[in-house]
């Protein structure tokens, strides 16, 4: 039983990753130099997807970012985890703002039908707007702050994009509170504040944390776009620069890093979420 779990959790996923690497290797292209009979060299691209660097080449070319993950050689030449760290810091700030704004709005939506009627349409309209569309507005809004404009614009974009899952899940959670719990509050004559903190908030926590997890996922999605547009140093910016430099191996490294970090964030939040599951 235990070994079956080990196989399910470790061996099979590792095998799947290996298989994917193999497929990647097989379809990737390479550039081969050949000396022609007349003495000149000719570069030939081979492979199924000619411009896709293979796993071995990716490793070779991006080694320096991985083996010294926290190195700082130049502004645009730093270890991959150092770039990631810059991004994580701003994501954390924006995400925090999203939670602080989103949770109360969610409660208002869940508690007040009037508030829902007033603002639900607006929320539904703003929700699908892409971070790429918010970003310029964010920068313009904070243009008066001078040097900090990019930073504040980025925070604005992350917060406003990441807020919606928290808002909606909290609202759903508040509406889903069983009437029984509210009856308990009424019979005990709890005051409004007491009802909020002793009944409503704990009863909504599981939903709130689902929202928080989804919000974190979005915040992490948004950061790449934000960094590309603002030129703020971080993993997304690194990816964009390397694209402009034609270094496709670094793009792949960045994609993998963004994916792994996103996965880890989601796992961490899901552990936290489980901790708050009641009944």
């Amino acid at each position: 039983m235990r070994s079956k779990k080990l196989i399910d959790l470790l061996v099979l996923p590792l095998f799947g990753i290996g298989l994917s690497l193999l497929i990647w290797h097989l379809i990737s292209g390479a550039t081969v130099s050949r000396v022609l009979p007349d003495g000149t060299t000719e570069e030939i691209k081979t492979g199924l997807v000619k411009d896709l660097p293979g796993p071995l080449m990716t490793w070779e070319k991006t080694r320096k970012y991985v083996v010294e993950p926290f190195a700082k050689r130049e502004d645009l030449d730093q270890g991959i985890l150092r770039f990631t760290w810059y991004s994580l810091v701003i994501v954390a700030k924006g995400y925090l703002i999203a939670l602080l704004l989103g949770t109360p709005i969610g409660f208002l939506l869940g508690l007040s039908p009037l508030f829902t009627k007033l603002f639900d349409p607006i929320i539904q309209i703003l929700r699908p707007v892409s971070p790429l569309a918010w970003m310029p507005l964010g920068v313009v809004l904070f243009a008066g702050t001078g040097k900090a404009a990019n930073e504040l614009g980025a925070l604005f974009t992350i917060a406003i994009c990441a807020m919606w899952p928290t808002v909606l899940n909290t609202a759903v959670g508040v509406r889903a509170i069983p009437q029984d719990y509210l009856n308990v509050a009424r019979v005990l004559k709890l005051s409004r504040t007491q009802t909020l903190f002793k009944i409503l908030v704990p009863a909504t926590l599981p939903y709130m944390f689902t929202g928080y997890r989804l919000s974190l996922g979005i915040a992490w999605l948004v950061i790449v776009a934000v960094e590309m547009l603002t030129g703020r140093i971080g993993i997304g910016n690194f990816l964009w620069n390397e694209y402009n430099n034609g270094l496709y191996t670094s793009i792949i490294l960045s994609i993998l890093t963004i994916g792994v970090v996103g996965f880890l964030l989601d796992r961490a939040m899901s552990l936290l979420e489980r901790r708050f599951k009641t009944a």
Binding site: Y181, R186, V187, L188, K189, L190, Q194, T278, A279
Partner: protein, 300 residues
């Protein structure tokens, strides 16, 4: 003077009349039981007394004061326990005490919590959460929570409805003991006549809905403490039980309503089994009389 009184109470939800013409008065210290069908409006009745809903007409009053909102003077034990799942047994009870007696010191609160946990025999489970408890244990917690706020009247809304027979019997014993010890006024709602007779001083049947109303009083004269096994052979018990059941099943308990409806009967003829099967199943189907074109009857 009666302590708890309902006068001419009716309640409907939309066009659906649930309760009509309810008159009930309960004396202080009395244990009254309302027995009725499931879905007849028993919970609505108790919600009216608890103040969770307001009557359409008539008044519900306690101590001469009309009840307009819920309050801790009426301790409601919910049918589905209504414990807060994120709190332990101790915390659930503590929350109630804290809310109702805000002036108490921490020591007083803790003492009261422990006293009521012990009263329902849950000392060993005080740190557990409701999900970790059986139905019977949850109902004990719910009872302890209600007793802890020291209500003037205890409203028990089918407290044992969701429990198995054995747990039910044990808890009936405990409710009996606790209510006798505390001397509180109790209104028990149940669908089990035996339970009502075992626990109550007086039984009032509630007729079937829609438009349920209360029947005549049936005083329970059996001496306390009552012994479940002896009771089953007691002729008084049998007679009372029969009276209550008969009332509930008889014309008083059932609301007879006549409905006239225009019925359209299906116009079908039996299918013809002689018709041959085809490759794709059968073409024979029940036919409508109107679709019949011609029928040849051969007479020999």
């Amino acid at each position: 003077m009666s302590f708890l009184e309902l006068k001419g109470v009716t309640k409907s939800f939309g066009s659906n009349v649930v309760l009509r013409d309810i008159n009930l008065s309960i004396a202080r210290g009395e244990v009254a039981a309302i027995v009725g069908y499931s879905g007849a409006g028993k919970t609505t009745l108790i919600n009216l007394i608890a103040g969770l809903t307001r009557p359409d007409t008539g008044t519900v009053s306690m101590n001469g004061k009309i009840i307009t909102e819920p309050g801790p003077d009426r301790g409601l034990v919910f049918q589905n326990y209504s414990l807060l799942p994120w709190l332990t047994v101790r915390e659930n009870i503590e929350l109630a005490i804290q809310a109702v007696f805000p002036a108490w010191t921490a020591d007083q609160r803790a003492a009261s919590v422990e006293k009521h946990i012990r009263m329902v025999g849950l000392g060993h489970a005080a740190h557990r959460r409701p999900v970790e408890l059986s139905g019977g244990m949850r109902q004990r917690v719910s009872l302890a929570r209600t007793l802890a706020i020291d209500p003037e009247v205890l409203l028990l809304d089918e407290p044992l409805g969701a429990l198995d027979a054995l747990t039910r019997a044990t808890l009936q014993d405990e409710i009996s003991r606790i209510t006798q010890e505390s001397g509180k006024t109790v209104l028990l709602i149940t669908n089990d006549p035996d339970e009502a007779i075992y626990l109550a001083d007086r039984i009032i049947p509630l007729s079937a809905g829609p438009g349920a109303t209360l029947g005549p009083d049936f005083p329970v004269t059996l001496a306390r403490p009552r012994d479940r096994r002896a009771m089953n052979h007691d002729p008084d018990f049998k007679r009372l039980r029969n009276q209550i059941v008969n009332w509930l099943l008889g014309p008083g308990g059932r609301v007879v309503q006549s409905v006239s409806k225009r019925l359209i009967l299906p116009d079908l003829l039996p299918e013809d089994l002689d018709e041959p099967r085809t490759l794709f199943g059968t073409s024979r189907q029940p036919r409508r009389r109107s679709e019949q074109k011609r029928e040849v009857v051969e007479i020999r």
